[in-house]
Amino acid sequence: MATALKEETPRTPETQQSEAVVVRFAGDSGDGMQLTGGQFTLSTALAGNDLATFPDFPAEIRAPQGTLFGVSAFQINFGSEAIETAGDQPDVLVAMNPAALKTNVPALREGGLIIADSGEFGKRNLDKAKYDSNPLEDGSLAKWQFLAFDISALTLEAVKPFGLGNKEALRCKNMWTLGLALWMFDRERQPLIDWLNNKFAKLPDVAAANVAALNAGHAYGETAEISGPLKQYHVDAAPATPGLYRTVTGAESISLGLVAGAQLADLKMFFGGYPITPASAILHHLSRLKEYGITTFQAEDEIAAICASIGASYAGSLGVTSSSGPGIALKGEAMGLAIITELPLIIVNSQRGGPSTGLPTKTEQSDLYQAVYGRNGDAPLPVVAACSPVDAFDCAIEAVRIATEYMTPVMLLTDGYIANAAEPWQVPDMDSYAPFPKEFLTEVPEGGFKAYARDEKLARPWVKPGTPGMMHRIGGIEKAEGTGHINYEPENHQAMTDTRKAKIDGVADSIPEQDVCLGEEGGKLAVVGWGSTFGPIHQAVKRKRAAGVDVSHIHIRHIWPMPKNMGDLLKSYDTVIVPEMNTGQLKTILRDQYLVDAQPVNKVSGQPFTIAEMEAAIDGALQT
């Protein structure tokens, strides 16, 4: 049972029932840890546990082997209750080399279990990891349990029959490790074996070797259990709504949400992108989905990417572009063009650590200012933020709905954590989504055609070039009300500025009121979050509430405009705190819009908040 792994963690009544384990796989970039983690995730999902993951890899493509900066890690938190974060502290650390041990062991819970490949703890690797002596031998790991055995040698042994070269053979180490992990948590091997055979269909020897390594690792567990400290744990399946499930990463689910959104809007999609970490994955996903009426275009830069998308929207497709911080900065001028020409457009921002190039592979929420305010002129646009891989699907659909119904660019915020993390996902039934088909203007309306006529949402008509009788010109210069001709008149500019603002403000009419996702309306303390801080906030609030603390969790999905009841809701609490992975950006909007004394809680380290940090913030807010 998992309790053995958990004994030191103090338990609240609410969490005691939950069985959750945090495992971290860490190794050299070349060791295939992300793959191991991904496959372990899948097996966890198949076992019916709820889960959350946190892949954390180096900025280098392939850092020199054995170095500290070349360590790649994958953390998974799984359990028989709802899991919202990848876990504060691992209970189990698998360390494939000294560098992996060194960089990851400080995070391990006291008393947690280390599994290390002793075969990699030779002098050379110890030097590279800047260890003076072998930690497996010098007693420095005393506060943890540890198990070291020569995984390298065991793997070589296991795959010997398949005649692979030494290098190739050693590549199977990760499968050996995965086999061991599968045994530890009492998992089925068959799905993994199927997957390996499928993946290496063209290289049967490699497939067989990997399967052998997997089996060997599994067998090692069984054997070692008898003789040593290695134990098997069982984590019950988490209760879940009945239905079909799979795992999904944020990048996948945004891509799928965009596809679904375009279908609901009855539009073809044009995706213009330019590679940048961590946004590229969306481009990669969509470029495999040509049969869904999607054109993907890798442009020469971010400016061309958004401009091509604007061109496609002008042609009558749903233009979508995507980037992260630095690339989004470059798109600012063109966003203004989409705003003034009132064309639908989705801009996905997968946020990463800034400023400038910053920390490309780390997560952050520091582009909220840029999203809401970062353009020349009075240039409002709606902003929607996803809070998890699963949520990203619905957020993408919502962004498409707003963009097409209101004829406006919409910014969809996600971040590096969401993009890479995986969650179990109940495959949505598209029949349960109300379609919002977009109609093009194809006939000159009574009273004549006006390119800037307005419907009840203040949206202008969308006319595809190629439509007879409605030729017209648009552009970035201020347009005359109604006709859309160039117009520099003071009154007209005032009117158009007001209309653009009113149109975007009006989006609030089409979104749900802000709810309290945990706790009550009104009370001592509201913790208000957005984006990927959802998990740690939610867990912390849950724990605190279980301990009888008067605290509620409000999670904002619609960053701009906000739900209409937001001001009243916030004012119903004595204290409002706003945890963000930035220096305090959402809090600016809340204070400006509602004049509530929202207090920032900030972390800008490229790492998600831990639940413990959130609990401390709640304690702090209630003390003062």
Binding site: A260, E291, T295, A308, A315, L337, T467, M471, I474
Partner: protein, 348 residues
């Protein structure tokens, strides 16, 4: 030229918008030339789109009774690329200036040419920034006095046609605002499938008056203009009295030279026959210095290859072939499991 029976007249291509260029600006003549060309190529206003950046030249779309998009500075090629990929049926014309297309927009210009998106790209080269009141541009000649270079510019100017060819253009044409032959070049550019680059010298009478007079002035034009025609010898001189000079190639030094030649004796004089598919000659014609040589006008290079949008469509079709666009299936792809209604726990 593949003229068609016109179904429209010039009038059909005029908008009701007041034309707002300076009186006497070369842009007027280009506008008329384009409006004259459209019926001849059998265009229909609703299927035609003009895309421009920012600049005096880029106001062009407002005056064409077609679909039009006056975008932002330098980005017209990107907008046009998206438009064309989203609807390849449209006849797309891009209008840009020497600043819009070669200063801020040089990169997009390069890529639209390299990719070979099927459209006509008209670069109005007045060797100056008109709209912002006369600063020198990347094509301004060395020593140009302008508000930002009060003591004369020092940059070596860019050469649009050389840049286009270096970027991979498969059609390079040249004309000038008031030239009667401009519609012919436009027609040829339209007939070319792929990105067709046309440099149009344009007189900015306010900020760079008459910089092209040396070859564009009607008087003596014959001596100063080499009007290229595919398959015809490169003769020049006043055609009314008969050509009297030609362009020949010194095949030892690989340099062009001007020789005395007439329509009768050109072959003996070694005058080159224009082969618009010859890249080497195209390079030479483009780099041929005006002064010692006439200005090369017309279609300098025309050698089509597959277009970008055709390739994109083909690739899309190929990769989608046999696949079903089933969203439900897509959502449920990969390894899945089912949670049973009774237990709320997985069953497989």
């Amino acid at each position: 030229m593949n003229d068609m029976t016109p179904v429209t007249t010039l009038k059909d291509w005029e908008t009701d918008q007041e034309v707002r260029w300076c009186p006497g600006c070369g842009d007027y003549a280009i506008l008329k030339a384009v409006q004259r060309t459209m019926p001849q190529i059998g265009g229909t206003p609703e299927n035609t789109v003009f895309i421009s950046g920012i600049g005096c030249s880029s106001r062009f779309p407002y005056y064409m009774e077609t679909y039009g998009f006056h975008t932002i500075h330098g980005r017209a090629p990107a907008v046009a690329t998206g438009l064309k990929l989203a609807n390849p049926e449209l006849d797309v014309w891009m209008v840009t200036g020497d600043g819009d297309g070669l200063s801020i927009g040089g990169n997009h210009l390069m890529h639209v040419l390299r990719r070979n998106v099927n459209m006509q790209i008209m670069l109005f080269n007045n060797e100056i920034y008109g709209l912002t009141k006369g600063q020198y541009s990347p094509t301004s000649r060395e020593g140009t006095n302008s508000p930002s270079t009060p003591y004369g510019s020092v940059d070596h100017p860019a050469r649009p046609a050389a840049f286009a060819l270096g970027s991979g253009a498969r059609f390079v044409g040249r004309g000038f605002d008031v030239s009667k032959k401009l519609p012919e070049v436009l027609k040829a550019s339209h007939a070319h499938k792929g990105a067709a680059f046309i440099e149009i010298f344009q007189n900015c009478i306010v900020y760079n008056k008459d910089v092209f007079e040396d070859f564009a002035a009607p008087k003596g034009a014959g001596d100063r203009q080499l009007c290229l025609e595919h398959g015809k010898p490169m003769l020049f001189g006043d055609p009314k009295v008969g050509f009297d000079k030609g362009i020949a190639l010194d095949r030892d030094t690989l340099t062009l030279k001007v020789v005395d030649a007439t329509e009768e004796n050109w072959e003996a004089a070694g005058v080159l026959v224009h082969d618009q598919t010859d890249r080497t000659i195209a390079h030479m014609l483009i780099e041929m210095p005006f002064g010692p040589f006439p200005m090369a006008l017309g279609v300098l290079y025309d050698d089509p290859r597959p277009t970008f949008e055709a390739a994109v469509i083909e690739e899309r079709a190929k990769s989608a072939a046999g696949k079903e666009a089933n969203l439900a299936k897509l959502l449920g792809k990969g390894q899945t499991w089912t949670v049973d209604a009774n237990e709320g726990h997985p069953t497989d």
